[in-house]
């Protein structure tokens, strides 16, 4: 009898690790699909706040964020807008600092760095993603030179379709928050929440999309994906027209035919105070 019990215990020990129950958040019926920019009551906004953000509030780089309580009610716990609200509520509990991007200029970032976040930056649209679902966060337009850091957000049925970059660039894309599917080289695979990221070497095709877009996964929550590319993806910035050829009268007077300049969006379009016009032109410092 004792031996039988011991055998059962042993068998359980061997089998159990493969059937560990999971503790995902329960699916929420209130989740909204696809809608990335919602109507909001200004009274519900917790961000931006004047004492924390020197950048003009009308800048598209600055997200307008409803409180977590409102987001929970409107979108549920598994929507990326609720996670965004959660981030800004946590921010508001921390002491502010002058090195936050919302208080920094391009020149200050180049000199001493800055603290950015995954929700603030120049908006763009690419790879089949809907408007307001993609931002350039840390890239040459805000003072970095070697790495381009972008972020994509989505709930259900959002795809950053398969693509690759210039032959010099390799990229990592994280499943920073939520669940989804990733693509490298020749197929899609499931990506887990809490630590997964894909690595795409030079010229290797890659992509990311919501869970539930194939039989591999079931949709339970949205996703936030961050991309880190080195060298920075200049083809992306020119496609977005964040970097343009300078055809100003001053440039023409100097005989410049193909000198690139940042678009120079005023009003903090890059998520910083002011905007640079050139990456390396001394007169702009």
């Amino acid at each position: 009898m004792c031996g039988v019990l011991a055998a059962i215990v042993c068998a359980s020990v061997v089998i159990l690790p493969n059937v560990v129950p999971l503790s995902y958040a329960a699916e929420d019926e209130t989740q909204t699909k696809g809608q990335l920019q919602s109507e909001y009551d200004p009274a519900d906004l917790i961000w931006p706040v004047k004492e924390r953000c020197d950048i003009p509030f009308e800048s598209t780089a600055i997200p307008k964020v409803e409180s977590k309580a409102v987001c929970m009610k409107k979108y549920g716990p598994n929507d990326f807008r609720t996670w965004q609200a959660d981030y800004f509520e946590r921010r508001l509990k921390l002491p502010d600092h002058p090195y936050r991007s919302e208080h920094s200029t391009f020149e200050q970032v180049k000199k001493r760095g800055a603290v950015f976040n995954v929700w603030t930056g120049a908006e763009g649209q690419l790879y089949g993603m809907p408007p307001h679902s993609f931002r350039c966060l840390i890239w040459p337009g805000v003072g970095m030179e070697r790495i381009g850091e972008q972020c994509g957000y989505g709930n259900e049925n959002i795809i950053a379709a398969e693509h690759c970059h210039s032959p010099a660039t390799n990229e990592v894309i994280t499943m920073f928050r939520g669940e989804g599917e990733g693509y490298i080289a020749d197929h899609w695979f499931a990506m887990a929440e809490g630590g997964d990221f894909l690595y795409a070497p030079r010229m290797v095709v890659h992509g990311m999309r919501s869970a539930g877009m194939s039989p591999l996964t079931k949709y339970r929550k949205g996703w936030v994906g961050t991309g880190f590319a080195a060298p920075a993806q200049w083809e992306l910035y020119t496609k977005f027209k964040q970097v343009v050829v300078d055809d100003s009268p001053e440039a023409q007077a100097k005989g410049w035919k193909g000198v690139y300049t940042f678009k120079g969006w005023e009003n903090g379009g890059y998520g910083l105070l002011g905007s640079p016009y050139y990456l390396n032109v001394p007169s702009n410092k």
Partner: protein, 265 residues
């Protein structure tokens, strides 16, 4: 005679039972671990230092609580175990596969390297030249309350610190800044940087660290690469050709001794 035989059988049965019960009590401890799981990790690499040993969420919650990075790590691996596996996962990939077609990594798996006062369990190099990445290095740092790293700088590299889990503080240029999950810290070339979790913090902190270009000097300092002094190197007249000291540390399936050497493929 009959009696002796019965006694022998009884003693053998007793010994066998004790052995099985003893073995099962050892296994009971083993059963706290959910990773590495032989169905998801190639058997030959189950014991690589690059593959973490992870207890279940239930055990971690009981031992460490909900705000400890070991509990977050356990949750990740439980999430993994619920998903279909894939041949492009880190645990099924060789250096050359990673170099050619990329791979699916995670922040918890990679070469443990003590660096800047952090031990190898909490600081892992994930993507770097020994795992197929040439342009950028990706590493992770997991800190408990009261832990910190030394203030340091990279003379020839820029860095981004992504706060993936929890909260803490980052030292940038000349001051400490409170940070929380979702923050991204840009560190310019040569700028002093460090990170810590204050003793009174509610939570641990996990950073995902991106450095470009790869800091080869750190690999020399950390003892990851060394000049090849082998007989073959001497025969070839190599005076200062770098090789990886212990390629098996990564947890990948097969690594070269050299970064670029045709005979390795």
């Amino acid at each position: 005679m009959r009696s002796n035989k019965s006694n022998t059988i009884f003693v053998m049965f007793l010994l066998a039972t004790l052995a099985v019960v003893g073995a099962s009590s050892v296994s009971a401890e083993d059963s706290d671990y959910i990773w590495p799981n032989p169905a998801f990790v190639t058997n030959a690499h189950m014991n690589s230092p690059g593959i973490p040993k992870v207890e279940s969420v239930k055990v971690c919650m009981k031992k460490y609580g909900p705000n400890d990075w070991r509990t977050w790590r356990a949750q990740y691996f439980e999430n993994r175990l619920a998903l279909p596996d894939d041949p492009y996962r880190y645990e099924h990939t060789s250096f050359h596969d990673a170099f050619d077609r990329g791979m699916l990594c995670n922040i918890w798996t990679g070469t443990p390297v003590p660096m800047w006062g952090m031990d190898g369990e909490s600081h892992r190099l994930i993507l770097y030249p020994l795992t197929g990445s040439e342009m950028q290095q990706f590493s992770s740092a997991a800190l408990h309350k009261g832990e910190s790293c030394e203030i340091h700088s990279h003379y020839a590299g820029e860095e981004i610190l992504a706060v993936w889990h929890g909260q803490g503080e980052v030292y940038l240029y000349d001051s400490w800044i409170p940070v929380t999950a979702g923050d991204l810290v840009y560190v310019p070339e040569g700028c002093p940087v460090a990170w810590r979790v204050p003793e009174d913090s509610e939570k641990d902190m996990v950073l995902f660290i991106i450095t470009a270009p790869c800091p080869m000097s750190e690999y020399v300092k950390g003892g990851l690469i060394e000049p090849d002094k082998s007989e073959n190197a001497q025969k070839a007249g190599w005076e200062l050709v770098w090789k990886w000291k212990n390629p098996s540390l990564t947890g990948l399936i097969g690594n070269p001794d050299y970064l670029r050497y045709p005979g390795q493929r």
